[in-house]
């Protein structure tokens, strides 16, 4: 029992040591530009709704980033699943699209930014939908097309790869036995290949969502952004507010870890069968 208590606290050991070192060193260094005091960072974290200078509150920026990832990643994931299923199932589609997609995979999403800014400029979803006022306007206006493109791309590849490999890993006899039982092509697709590749799809989503979250923060640091966690950090740097920078970093890290954890829980609950097979 003692060891179980110990193992429960084990993961907290290193973070606690880091915070401890921080608490010790901050007053020694005594320079808010190099290492802000833990208390000033904590003050920002415990009052997330308080406006920070011209940047808006932490909560608003967080919400903005989150909305962007939610929309961009969802679209990218859906495209990735569809492409993965089709290309995993049909050799012809794989032959036609495979090499083309592989050309794009190694391009870092940030390398797209200059081109995207030239194409889309400051155009947003709000402009696309023709909305120029109202309560949802600020959110829609902050969904810049260029940023969404990056998020869609970032969400696409991991999910696509996971789905593709998931489809390929479905044993041939599962497909054949279903066909013998009278499965139509759509039955094969939706009742055999899709559930059969669910573990692969999900693995892709788990990798993709944390990756996309990273991409977003980086994208928000680029010109054109006027909200979001990346913008908050970048702007705080300009103003010499290192405490906001660190608070932002902590939130970004925690959110990423939380998303990953949520995925793992879902995986364990809904896709437990995949670990039991063979």
């Amino acid at each position: 029992m003692k060891s179980s208590v110990l193992s429960f606290f084990l993961p907290a050991l290193v973070p606690a040591a880091v915070v401890g070192a921080w608490i010790y060193w901050a007053p020694v260094i005594d320079n808010e530009l190099l290492l802000p005091s833990p208390s000033s960072v904590a003050a920002i974290l415990v009052h997330p709704a308080e406006p920070l200078l011209a940047m808006g509150s932490v909560a608003v920026n967080m919400l903005m980033s989150f909305a962007r990832v939610a929309v961009g990643f969802t679209v990218g994931t859906i495209l990735g699943i569809v492409a993965g299923l089709v290309m995993g199932r049909f050799k012809l589609a794989d032959r036609i699209l495979g090499p083309f997609l592989e050309l794009f995979r190694p391009i870092p999403s940030l390398a797209w930014v200059p081109l995207l800014l030239a194409w889309f400029g400051m155009a947003s979803v709000a402009g696309l939908l023709g909305i120029d006022s109202g309560p949802v306007y600020p959110y829609l206006d902050n969904l810049k097309l260029s940023m969404l493109f990056i998020l869609i791309l970032g969400g696409f590849f991991p999910t696509f790869t996971g789905t593709y490999q998931g489809v390929r890993s479905v044993p041939r006899t599962l497909v054949e036995s279903s066909r013998v039982l009278g499965a139509s092509e759509s039955d094969i697709f939706f009742k055999v290949l899709l559930p059969g590749s669910a573990p692969g799809i999900f693995n892709g989503i788990r990798i993709g969502i944390t990756l996309d979250w990273c991409h977003l923060v980086a994208a928000e640091m680029l010109p054109g952004a006027s909200s979001g966690m990346g913008y908050l950090i970048f702007d705080a740097q300009m103003l010499g507010r290192m405490d906001i920078v660190i608070a932002g970093m902590i939130l970004i890290g925690a959110t990423g870890a939380l998303l990953d954890y949520g995925c793992r829980v879902f995986e364990r609950k809904k896709l437990g069968w995949s670990r039991e097979v063979r």
Binding site: S177, S178, R179, V180, L181, W273, E276
Partner: protein, 262 residues
């Protein structure tokens, strides 16, 4: 051989369920060579007949079965089921694979319900059919279990129930008991015969076990290896249940073994 089978229902009058006529199979190897897997083969199955195909691995017996199921094309000759050519899988022809091939994310019940579900049956009908056949194989209490929670023998029972729930008129079995231990294997052979009595079905059963063939079959097709060819077709005139200690049983087994070795 340019043997051109007529696709008119020439055998519609007889009680033949399956007619394999002049079928050959050639595979293309990875080096581009043509490899003959099956020499010209003729075989006919009558209603409610239990036919076993025995032969060493690589004799094309599984290929023959897969062609009969419509999973593989036959370029030469024809396979006709109830007078119509088999070109793709069809509901009346069921198949049980050696690897069980149950969907691991579906419960036992939902696996058995697959056939009726694909046929567009209502959920209630599918469940009813699945329950009926699960009971037939004695696994009612495992309806909500998942395949990975069952032993190999139980999984294969589920696979048999699943094939039967589609009410096939012809059941193809590809070394279904090949992965089971000797004891379970004998148990399932006995059970299969019992099921056949209850649900009259025509069965084409592929195995490499001579004993299994002699225990189960009405007729035994003995094949030669590479390229596969039918060597002899033997009738088994022993009454069921067959006793492995019976002198005629032993003599027949011996005879088939000799045929296989010669």
């Amino acid at each position: 051989m340019p043997h051109q089978p007529s696709e008119t229902a020439s055998d519609a009058g007889s009680a033949s369920v399956l007619a394999i006529t002049g079928v050959e199979k050639t595979f293309l190897t990875s080096r581009g060579e043509r490899l003959k897997a099956l020499e010209t083969t003729n075989l006919e199955l009558k209603v409610n007949e239990f036919v076993c195909v025995v032969g060493p691995s690589g004799c094309g017996k599984s290929t023959l079965l897969r062609m009969t199921a419509g999973l593989e094309s036959c370029e030469t000759g024809s396979i006709s089921f109830m007078g119509t050519p088999v070109v793709r899988p069809r509901r009346e022809i069921g198949m049980v694979f050696q690897e069980y091939s149950l969907l691991p994310w579906r419960s036992v019940l939902d696996n058995v319900a697959m056939g009726p579900e694909f046929a567009g049956g209502s959920r209630a009908d599918c469940v009813r059919a699945a329950e009926e056949f699960l009971q037939l194989v004695g696994l009612s209490e495992f309806a909500q279990s998942y395949p990975h929670e069952l032993s190999g023998g139980m999984r294969q029972r589920v696979a048999i129930a699943r094939a039967l729930a589609n009410r096939p008129e012809l059941l193809l079995m590809d070394e279904p008991f090949g992965a089971l231990d000797a004891h379970t294997r004998i148990l399932l052979q006995r059970e299969l015969l019992k099921i056949c009595q209850k649900h009259a079905t025509t069965i084409l059963f592929v195995t490499h076990s001579v004993d299994e063939a002699v225990y189960l079959a009405d007729r035994i097709v003995v094949m030669s290896p590479r390229p596969g060819r039918i060597k002899r077709i033997l009738s088994v005139d022993l009454p069921h249940p067959r006793s492995r200690g019976d002198a005629r049983y032993a003599a027949l087994s011996q005879h088939i073994l000799e045929l296989l070795e010669s």
